[in-house]
Symmetry: C2
Subunit: 336 residues, 2 copies
C-alpha cells in the first residue's frame, strides 16, 4: 500500500511530486499552475458582481472521513462555499490546506482530493492556492482540511442578521438533522439504516434563486449547533425573539428515530446543506416557492416567527411553549 510519508510535506522532491501528480492535476487551473507563493487573481471578476467581498474559512476534522452522502473533501468545499453564499455572495475562489498524518493511505487521499475537485468544479469554484503539511504518526488523525473561500456579494444585497425585525417569518430549507444523525449513527454504531444520509451540498445555486426577492433578510446554514445555534445568533444580532413550532419542523422519520433513541433534539443536530432563512411575511410565499423549485429545497417550510418579545422559544407538539436554550455543547465532537 502506497502511503503518505513525512517527505511528502518536507519541501523537497517528494512534496513537489505529490503536488504535481495529485493536486495540480485534480484542481487544474491557470492560477494554481503558476506555482507562485500566492495566486494572482483578477479583481475585475469580483467588482463586476459587487462592491463587497465575502471571505470565510473552516477547518474540517470530521470522523469518519467517509460517510453516506459525502466525505471530508466534499464537505470542505460545501461548508465553506455555503458560508460565503449565505452572505449573498457567489463563491468563486478557494484555498485549501491539508494536514496529513504519516502513514495515510495514498489512495484515500486521492479519493478525497478528487471529490473536492469534482464538488468545486460543479459549483464554479476554483481552488487557486494550497498547502500540504505532514505530521508524524499519532500527531494528527489521518486528514484535516482547511478551506478559505471568497466571492463578491451581489450588488444591492444587504443580507444580515441585523436586518431581521419583529413580524418576519423563519423558514427552514429542508429536513433538519440529517448530517448529525448520519454521523452519530456511524460513530455510535446504532445500526440504523434506510434513509440516513448526510445532506452535505453546495447551496449556492439555490441561494442565488433568492437574490431577486426583496424581503429576504438573513440566511445561515445550520451546521455545528444546528438550527438552535442559528436562532440564538439571529436573536442576539437582531434584538428580536425567535419562536418556532415543533409541529412545523421538517424532520425525516429516521432522524426522529435517532433522536428518540438517544433523547436528543434534532434542533441541535448539525446540517451541512440546510438554510435557516428569515424573510418578511409578505416575501415568505415567494421564498418558499423559489426553494421548492430546487431539489435541495423541496421540503422547505415555515418553521416560526420573529417576535418583539426577546428569547428563543419553541411550541411543543401539545401547544406548550418553552424556552429553547443553547446547550453548553453539542452531542458529538468531530461532526464537521
Amino acid at each position: 500500500m502506497k502511503t503518505i510519508t513525512l517527505a511528502h510535506g518536507s519541501g523537497g522532491q517528494a512534496m513537489q511530486q505529490l503536488i504535481a501528480s495529485l493536486f495540480m492535476e485534480a484542481f487544474a487551473n491557470p492560477w494554481l499552475a503558476e506555482q507562485e507563493d500566492a495566486a494572482r487573481l483578477p479583481l475585475a471578476e469580483l467588482t463586476a458582481c459587487g462592491d463587497k467581498l465575502a471571505f470565510s474559512t473552516d477547518s474540517y476534522v470530521i470522523d469518519p472521513l467517509f460517510f453516506p452522502g459525502g466525505n471530508i473533501g466534499h464537505l470542505a468545499i460545501c461548508g465553506t462555499a455555503n458560508d460565503v453564499a449565505v452572505g449573498g455572495a457567489i463563491p468563486r475562489w478557494m484555498s485549501c490546506g491539508f494536514i496529513l498524518e504519516e502513514g495515510l493511505d495514498f489512495a484515500l487521499l486521492e479519493q478525497i482530493v478528487h471529490s473536492m475537485a469534482h464538488t468545486a468544479r460543479e459549483a464554479g469554484i476554483t481552488i487557486v492556492t494550497g498547502d500540504t503539511k505532514v505530521v508524524p504518526r499519532g500527531a494528527a488523525d489521518k486528514v484535516f482540511i482547511n478551506t478559505a473561500g471568497m466571492g463578491a456579494i451581489v450588488r444591492g444585497l444587504n443580507w444580515g442578521a441585523s436586518q431581521i425585525s419583529d413580524g418576519d417569518v423563519i423558514i427552514a430549507s429542508g429536513t433538519l438533522g440529517d448530517h448529525g444523525a448520519t454521523i452519530l449513527n456511524l460513530r455510535e454504531q446504532l445500526g440504523l439504516e434506510g434513509d440516513l444520509r448526510s445532506d452535505c451540498a453546495v447551496l449556492a445555486p439555490m441561494i442565488a434563486s433568492l437574490h431577486p426577492i426583496a424581503g429576504v433578510k438573513a440566511l445561515r446554514d445550520a451546521t455545528r449547533g444546528g438550527v438552535n445555534a442559528v436562532l440564538h445568533e439571529f436573536a442576539d444580532a437582531s434584538g428580536c425573539g425567535m419562536e418556532i413550532s415543533e409541529a412545523q419542523l421538517p424532520v425525516k422519520p429516521v432522524v426522529r428515530g435517532v433522536c428518540e433513541l438517544l433523547g436528543l433534539d434534532p434542533l441541535n443536530f448539525a446540517n451541512e446543506g440546510k438554510l435557516v432563512i428569515v424573510a418578511s411575511r409578505a416575501a415568505a410565499p415567494e421564498v418558499l416557492n423559489a426553494l421548492h423549485q430546487h431539489p435541495l429545497g423541496k421540503d422547505a417550510a415555515i418553521i416560526g416567527d420573529v417576535t418583539a418579545r426577546t428569547g428563543v422559544r419553541v411550541t411543543g407538539l401539545y401547544g406548550v411553549k418553552r424556552s429553547l436554550d443553547l446547550p453548553h455543547a453539542e452531542p458529538l465532537p468531530r461532526i464537521c
Copy 2:
C-alpha cells in the same frame, strides 16, 4: 489549570464564550464583530491599490509551539503575510482556523492568540474571519493553525519567476538557515546557545521598499526546503540556470556550527524571514541598498547569478562547482 474541552468546539455556549472572550477581544475589528458566517469586506480598499489580488494559505504544525524568536501564532501571521507580499501585494486581510487538542492549556492558547493579534496589528493585517475546532485528546498535537491571507498587488508590479532571465543576479536578504537551525537545536537537544534564534518576521514593509525598483524580477521567502528549493523553483519556471557561490552566502557562525555538527547544508534549512530575490544586474546595487536600510535586511548580499546554462549549481569554498540537487526530503518534520 483551565484547559480546552470538546465543548469549546461544539457550536454551543462554551464555543460562543471562547470566541467572545478570546478571539473577538484579541483580534477586535468591525468585520469580525459582525459575527456573520463570512466577513464582508470593501473591495474598494483593494482596487485602490491594484487590479490583482494575491491569495495564499498555509497550515502551521510547528513543534515546539514556542521557540526563540517566535511561536506558532506569530509564525502563522508572518508566513502567510510573506507569501502574499512576495508577489508584490500589500497583505491586508487574513482568516484564521484553529484545530485544538482537548486538554490544551488555556493560558498557552491565550499567549498564542495574543501574539498573533500583536503581529497582525503591527503589520497592518486584520484577522476578519475564523474557525475553531476541538478534537479529542490524541487526535491532534496541541495546536494547529491555518491562515489564509490576501492583499492587492501594487499596480504596475509584475513580479514572478517567469520574469527571470540570463544575466540577472540572485540576492539573499539576510543570514540563511536561522529558523531551521533553531528548531533543530531545540528538537534534537543539541544544547547550542548564543545567537540561535528564528528569523520569523513579517517582511512586507521591507518588500514594499523594493516596489519602486524597476529591475526586480522575482521574490520568494525561503521557508520549507530553504534557498535550495527556491532556486529550483526559479530554475524550473524561468528555464534558466542558477549558480550561487558558497563563499558569498550569509550564514551565522552558530548556524554553520549546527550544520557541521550534523553534516547538513544551510541551503536546505527553513527560513521564516528571508527573501531570495532575483533582479537585473543593473538594479542589484539599488536593491541591496534598499534592503540594507531595513533592520531585517542588514546582512543582504548577492549570492549568485542567473545563467543561460540550465541547472542549479554551487561553487564551493575551494572554487569547485557542483550540482545542487533538491533533496528528497528536508531534515526535519514540523519545521513550520
